[in-house]
Each structure stands twice: as structure tokens, then as C-alpha cells.
């Protein structure tokens, strides 16, 4: 139980980032606790947040969450019930709302306070400049469109490099892959021989890659051009069909032939 309690505290620490913005929320709560007279708002902004925080840090809650089979990595979402932003901003607006001068000055000062206490989201490393209306890297679109221009089959089996894995099937779901994003999730502890050969070796060995890929009927390999190579793809039997945005695309003619034979048979 003590472990759950510490995990809950850790979740609060990760959630708030221990940034000053959270401090504003705590101060706002105390102000409302002592000064808010509207009973409905005392329920929403004082009682409910307090009880919710107590429920959150109670070890029994996390224990029940765990026993219910829920993912403990999502436990922090219980904190979404606490209206931290609205509670803080409501308190500030109450304080600055008396007259025109206090409103203007308060709005400017509060904006500055929030700006310096928080963090500008558009500076997050997850954001990048949008190259197209899809909101995914243009290289993914170009690679997929290029393969499609070379192959008229509806379903195509590919093995892309790691940088393309998360976006290829968002753009074209008829591209099949031996593994996907879940492979990169360490907590899932997945294993796939293709991933081991393709991504987990310091130098890519095409003979091993093709030998494994044929078990999974991989027809196209998309290799990042900077990848260190152990041998030549042509020596392993692959055909080079093009380079698109620093990605070298190879085709396995053995698998292509198998597909043709299956089509003739069916």
C-alpha cells in the first residue's frame, strides 16, 4: 500500500511538472476555501477538488484501479476531474474584476504570470512545421506514393525503417507491415525477428534480413540511407527501385513472383 501512495505522489509530480503554474492553483484553492461565499462554487472549486485529491492519493484507489485491470500509466487522468485551470482563473478574475483599471491591469499581469509560470506548448519537441494538410511528415507520403506508383496491387507488404513506422499506416492502411509502433513500447516487451534483424543490429545484414523477411512475405524494404550496411542488398537478391527523401526502397523479386503465382492460381 505504501508503494501505491508513493506512486500517486509521483503521478502528481509528473502531472504538474512541479511548475509554478500548479502553485497558482494551490494558492487559488486556499483563497476560495476562506473567501468563496457562493455555495455551488464552493462545491465545484473547493470541496470537489479537495476530495478528489484525497481519493487520488489514497492507496486503496490505486489498488482498486490496478485490480480492475486498468493501465496504471493512465491513473493520472483521474486528476482531469479537478478543474485546476478554471479554479485558478476564476479566483484571479474575482480579484481583478472590481473596475475597469483593475480589469485591464489584472488581465495584463495575469497573462504575464501565466506565461512565466507555465511553458509555451508550441515549443514542445513534439510539434514540427506542418509540411502538408495531412499533418504527417511529407517523406511518409512520398515514400508510400512512390511504392504505389511502382506496384498496382491493392495490398502491399513492406518493412519500413523506424522513422516511418508510426505514420505509414495512417496514410495508407493497405500497406501491411510485420510489426508496428507497439514494437517500440518497451513496457510491452514484444519480440519480432524482423525487428531484431532490421533495427537492432549495428550494421544491417541484407542476407539475414531477406531470409527473415521471406518468412513474413515482405516484398518491399525501406531503408534509411544513413543506415550502416554489412553487405550489399543486390547480393542478397533485392532489386533497388528508387530513393525517396533519404530512403532507399528495395524489392524482393522472389516474393513478387510468389504473389504473381498466387494471383494466377486464384
Amino acid at each position: 500500500m505504501g508503494g501505491y501512495f508513493l506512486d500517486a505522489l509521483r503521478a502528481i509530480k509528473n502531472f504538474t511538472g512541479l511548475k509554478p503554474l500548479f502553485g497558482i492553483a494551490v494558492i487559488a484553492w486556499f483563497y476560495l476555501f476562506f473567501r468563496e461565499k457562493n455555495k455551488s462554487l464552493r462545491v465545484v472549486f473547493v470541496a470537489m477538488p479537495l476530495i478528489m485529491m484525497l481519493i487520488f492519493i489514497c492507496p486503496l484507489t490505486m489498488w482498486a484501479f490496478d485490480k480492475a485491470g486498468l493501465d496504471l500509466d493512465t491513473y493520472y487522468r483521474m486528476l482531469w476531474i479537478v478543474p485546476i485551470g478554471m479554479m485558478s482563473v476564476y479566483t484571479i478574475v474575482k480579484l481583478i474584476g472590481k473596475n475597469f483599471k483593475t480589469r485591464i491591469a489584472g488581465l495584463v499581469l495575469t497573462t504575464a504570470l501565466i506565461v512565466f509560470s507555465g511553458q509555451y506548448i508550441y515549443n514542445s519537441p513534439i510539434f514540427f512545421e506542418s509540411e502538408n494538410l495531412y499533418g504527417i511528415p511529407q517523406q511518409t507520403i512520398d515514400v508510400v506514393d512512390y511504392i504505389r506508383s511502382q506496384d498496382s496491387h491493392e495490398i502491399i507488404n513492406i518493412c519500413p525503417s523506424a522513422d516511418l513506422i508510426t505514420t505509414i499506416r495512417q496514410y495508407d492502411s493497405k500497406m501491411r507491415m510485420p510489426y508496428g509502433r507497439d514494437m517500440f513500447n518497451a513496457s510491452l516487451n514484444y519480440y519480432h525477428p524482423m525487428y531484431e534483424v532490421f533495427e537492432q543490429t549495428p550494421r544491417l545484414n541484407f542476407n539475414d534480413l531477406v531470409k527473415t523477411g521471406r518468412e513474413f512475405e515482405v516484398e518491399y524494404y525501406i531503408v534509411y540511407s544513413a543506415r550502416l550496411l554489412d553487405d550489399s542488398p543486390e547480393d542478397a537478391g533485392l532489386m533497388f527501385i528508387g530513393e525517396v527523401k533519404d530512403h532507399l526502397i528495395y524489392k524482393d523479386p522472389v516474393i513478387s513472383k510468389q504473389i504473381e503465382l498466387l494471383e494466377e492460381y486464384y
Binding site: S40, T74, L79, I81, G118, I121, R176
Partner: protein, 350 residues
Amino acid sequence: MIIVKIVAAVISLIAVMYMMGLLPVSLMKISSNKISNALIYGFVMLLALLEIVGIPIVLLMDYSGYHVFVTAFSIAILIFSALGVYFGRKDILKPEAPISFKSYSLESKVYLFVLLGCIAFQVVMCFLLASMDADDFYYNAQALQAQDYDVLYRIDVNTGRSTSLDIRHALALFPILEAYISSVFDIHVVMLAHKVMPIVLIPLSYLLVFKISEKLFPKKKELQFIFTILINVWRVFGFVSYFTTETFFLLRTWQGKSVAGNFIIPAIIYIFLLMHENKDTVSKGLLMLLAALVIASGASSSLAVMLSCGLIVLLALLFSILERKLKTALLEILCCIPGVLYILLYVISG
């Protein structure tokens, strides 16, 4: 051409939400702010219908589920929009002004422009920037697979191969709503999710914030605008971690989880503030909306259903202590029944 499709999709989505929302607005005899209420209630109804229509299809149909869903959902939308238009025909024939601009003070008008500018900034940033969120790999691919294979939640997003029903996500149909809108307007689902949905979801969320501010600062328009502006600022600078609702709102606007944290949960708070304004009567319409909100939360995720029900129970009990009225609390808690059924379904199907 794609711009025309995007504009058509946005206008149609707003129109459908408005028409559907006119039904509760008319039945509850809401006399003011009808457009804003209709849009909010209409969105709740849209998500609730999505779940009511979609869940049986997901569970029962191994094949051809998507096109059956498209047909059934279209019929449901048409019926409820028609009902909304019928009951709200007076409001359509003589609409109120969306913003009663002339009645605002100069100060309020300035704040309104600042607020609209802040909202426009966030919408524009959705076009200028893109975010590499790992969960898109699942949700967008699942939506695209529904369209391409006519199968709901039975294809592994990692490999593209058939698999058993992914019950962990199958009851949360927000990606399928995006697939539906994408199919209707012939916009690639990833484009719709990343660029079109924020145009609707961001202003809608702030509309809800503004409605809440009307309860926090009654008859003080200046304070209502200041509140909403500062919530804007809080969200843009609220990136203290990857876990807050503020981060989800701007980083993952198009995902069901963001809708849960930035619309469903605040909407529950809003409904409670409305319900407990008048302590003498219990509004049946608001109770039904609360139940619809619980169903709508299911479109986001199973955890959102639990959070919604937990919040409703907590607020119901606290208000019952405050007002010394057990009956209202019991009625509010009964609104969680759809949530309990959702969780049971989740457990049984798993």
C-alpha cells in the same frame, strides 16, 4: 478543391450540431442563448448517438460493419436533426443574433475581439504545425482501416492483418466518427483529424468555457470574456507536462481523450451548475443531458466513462449535503446507469 471540402465539412458539422441541439433547447424551453446552447447540446447528442448506434454494430458485425454503421448513423442524424428542426422551427425562422454585439460595452467588445483572436491563433497553429503523437498511430489507422476494409476494430493497426475484436478500444468510437465525416466529405481521415476537427473542437470547447463563465460571473460580460481569455492563455502556456488536459487540448485536439478532458468533464460541471441554480425544481431535460453526457463520454474511452460517472456521483453527493436534498442526488446518480452498462459491456465482451 480540398479547401471547398474542408469548408463544407466544417459548416455541415456545425449545422448538424445546431439542428440536433435545437431539440433539447426547444423541449427544455430555453429562452436565451439558444444558438450556443444548441451547439453544445448538439455535440453531446452527436457523440451519444455515435455510441448508441455504433456499439451494437461493432460488437455484432465481424464484417461489413463500417458501411452498416454509415447507413445507420446517417439515418439517426437525419431523424434527430429533423426533430430538432421541427421543434425548433421558430428559432430557425426567426433566429436570434449569435452575438448580441450592440448590447456590449466598448470594453466587452475589445475583450471579444481579443478572445476571438486567441481562438483563431490556436486554430491557425493547427494548420501551421503538426504533432507527432504516438497514439495517432492507433486512432487514425483504425479510422482508415474502417473505411478501407469495411471492418470495425478487427484489424491489427500494427500489421494490417485480421485479428479478434480489440475490445479495449472498440467501444470508444470517436475515430469512427472521424472516419464517417471523412467518408461523407471525401477528405482523407488523417487530414480531417489533424486539420479539420480542430476548427470545430477548439471553438466549441471555448464556447463551453464561456457558458461556464456565465454561471461564474452572471450578468458581468466583461468578466466572462476575461475568464475565457485567461483560460486561452492557461491552455497555451499550460504545457507543464504531457499529462494535463491543456496539453491534450492543443497537442491531440482530434483524439477522444482530449474531448473527454476538455469538453465532457467541463460539460458535466456546467450541467451541475445549471441544475443547482434553481434549487426548487429538478430539470428533467438537464438530467437527460447528463445521461447523454455519460454515453457521449464513452466515445472517448472507457476511462472517460468512469471519470464522468465518478465526477457525477461526487458532485451529486456534495450538492445533496449542501442542499439537504437526497432525491436530486439520486436522480443525478441514476444518470450514470448508461455508464455502468458500458463498463459491464466492456467487461463481458473482454
